[in-house]
Symmetry: C2
Subunit: 398 residues, 2 copies
Amino acid sequence: MEKQGIRQRVNGFKAWAVAAGLKKDDAPDLALIFSERRAVAAGVFTTNKVKAAPVIVSQERINRKYARAILANAGCANACTGRQGLEAARGTTDLVARHLNIPAEEILVASTGVIGQLPNMQLFEKALPGLVDKLSPDGIPHVARAIMTTDSFPKMVFYPEKAGGTAYGILGIAKGAGMIMPNMATMLSFILTDIQIDHESLRSALGDCVKSTFNRITVDGDTSTNDTVFVLANGMAGNQSPTERDLAGFREGLQFVMGELARMIVKDGEGATKVIRIEVKGAHSASDAENAARAVANSSLVKTAFYGQDPNWGRIMAGLGRAGIRMQEEEVDIWIDEVQIVGGGLGKGFEAEQKAAQKMTNREFSVVIDLHQGLFQDAIITCDLTHDYVSINAHYRT
Amino acid sequence: MEKQGIRQRVNGFKAWAVAAGLKKDDAPDLALIFSERRAVAAGVFTTNKVKAAPVIVSQERINRKYARAILANAGCANACTGRQGLEAARGTTDLVARHLNIPAEEILVASTGVIGQLPNMQLFEKALPGLVDKLSPDGIPHVARAIMTTDSFPKMVFYPEKAGGTAYGILGIAKGAGMIMPNMATMLSFILTDIQIDHESLRSALGDCVKSTFNRITVDGDTSTNDTVFVLANGMAGNQSPTERDLAGFREGLQFVMGELARMIVKDGEGATKVIRIEVKGAHSASDAENAARAVANSSLVKTAFYGQDPNWGRIMAGLGRAGIRMQEEEVDIWIDEVQIVGGGLGKGFEAEQKAAQKMTNREFSVVIDLHQGLFQDAIITCDLTHDYVSINAHYRT
């Protein structure tokens, strides 16, 4: 049950994953998470106007505030599939409902994979009995693996906490890799906890944490049609109704789990070799800080320079200049980690650039930009743009 | 003087280019265009808030409405160079003014190359006498070559026209390649004509043509600090004051020249193997049409799919969905050239995709999107995102 000191289970949750044949390579692609008790549930979803069928179905169901299970698959996004796609998404949960003897309305659903293909219902029908039979408290790592598409490693984070002296856990998994510039949520992430908590506290904690974690990363500036984050709290830790302090502890844990998962998603961005934190401070407004960081984090020229370990600060300046923010070129300072490469809008010279290039050989580094226009700051985590990104995406479907 | 049937000179303009040592490889990098008569002049410049010194200097000077010369260099953008950069930009034109015996205020200046380095004035001083001596009516092609950076071919277009029975020509040159998503102009383009025309007609023709040509292309979504378009009309064709009809003819010619140059810039986009016209129709508003076309044209996922010749329409749908436009997924139709791949938001099946993939093997093709939301349309010309784009930009400075 415990591997390498990381806990991989939470009281009252069972899970498993099987190879249903939705992926082309016989890898596990169909996953189920089941809560022994009805769990308080909250979710956030893509802001893309083109929403996948499972997003539409789950958005309806999450309004009930409770859920018993999450059915997830890779290999088929069930997006741009119209009325038939919606019927298929509901149909798969009907099958699960029958096997588990729970209402279909309490089953959330999430899909990832190629857009524009209907899921093959026969594959679901054939695989589901075996999947339900194998549900196990140790099954979450299998789910983390099954929802991978172009991800190169599974993403799982555990955080132990106490509420009123009672121990509980927060276990999160996620998949990422491509089409990542979440505008409200990110690809897929499921977070399970056994804390007893009311729906409003859970919903607001999720909303706040999404803003500072999944909504602050970018791989390629594209927002998926399927982005989904679910958090399920089944109350099986048996804590008393949480105090303000307990809630603060829970938020801190949730923030940690989601923040780590977000960082893992960037680290595993398609073709990425580096994780870069773009930090903007001294902005005139909160939106200026965010827009400046996003303009730099999404610039293809900046991202290829990161790949080349080239402290090409001119591209960063050009990115800031088109961000639509209040700025004075001659007041901008830029650092790579603690090495200043721009002071007052001007380069700090060859030696500074050499030192910065050295920092850029690391797998993770920061770009810190001080605009000197005000008191607002923000940060976006991005990755480099590499040959492998092009290889992966030029031939993804073939 | 005439090569391959394309005229490469315009009455009264002389030009030449030399290797001043600003580029690393001994290639021509310093160019001068000189008009025997003072020419009516108009210009459009980058909207990037970080503006290169030559942009700032030329913006001041273009307000005088007349110019005698354009000094252009590659190898050094003279951007992010502060007060010293401005002094250098003015200083180089002072040198030219002395050699040509004309006012420095009538010399426009444009630079392209690496951001953040000051131009080496000694190189200018050494090269200018030889450059001025060699000025020739046949020198424009040399200028087109000298302003190239990562461009793989020089870009020149000629258009012959008549005004009131008098023949005149419009000769345009441009450089492009990277940092191309002009927001007001594009990298560098100089357009020379011997028509006699008033300043207001010239200025408004330039402004209108820029909107539908250079402002409708994208290579990588980045807007340069140095984007500049100049048009100089020296009146040496000797036509009478142009009539409305003559002006319409001139606009048509200017539109042709700038449109062809813009298309050449995309064709020669860094690493590009394909030119793709993204056409959006049936949009609810003009801005919806433009935003939809730009979202698709700038999507890294769409551009890599073009490279892979993969009619991955799901990525196009996802791009539309995050464009912030009015749309109904189930009303979207998409074609690759004349092959419909999406009807009513749904894929048209394997056979249609195979036919579309065949179209995508061509060097140029169109994506036509009908949103069925209204009467507005727009088009953006883009290129694919390739391994070579990454190679070129990861190691541009090294």
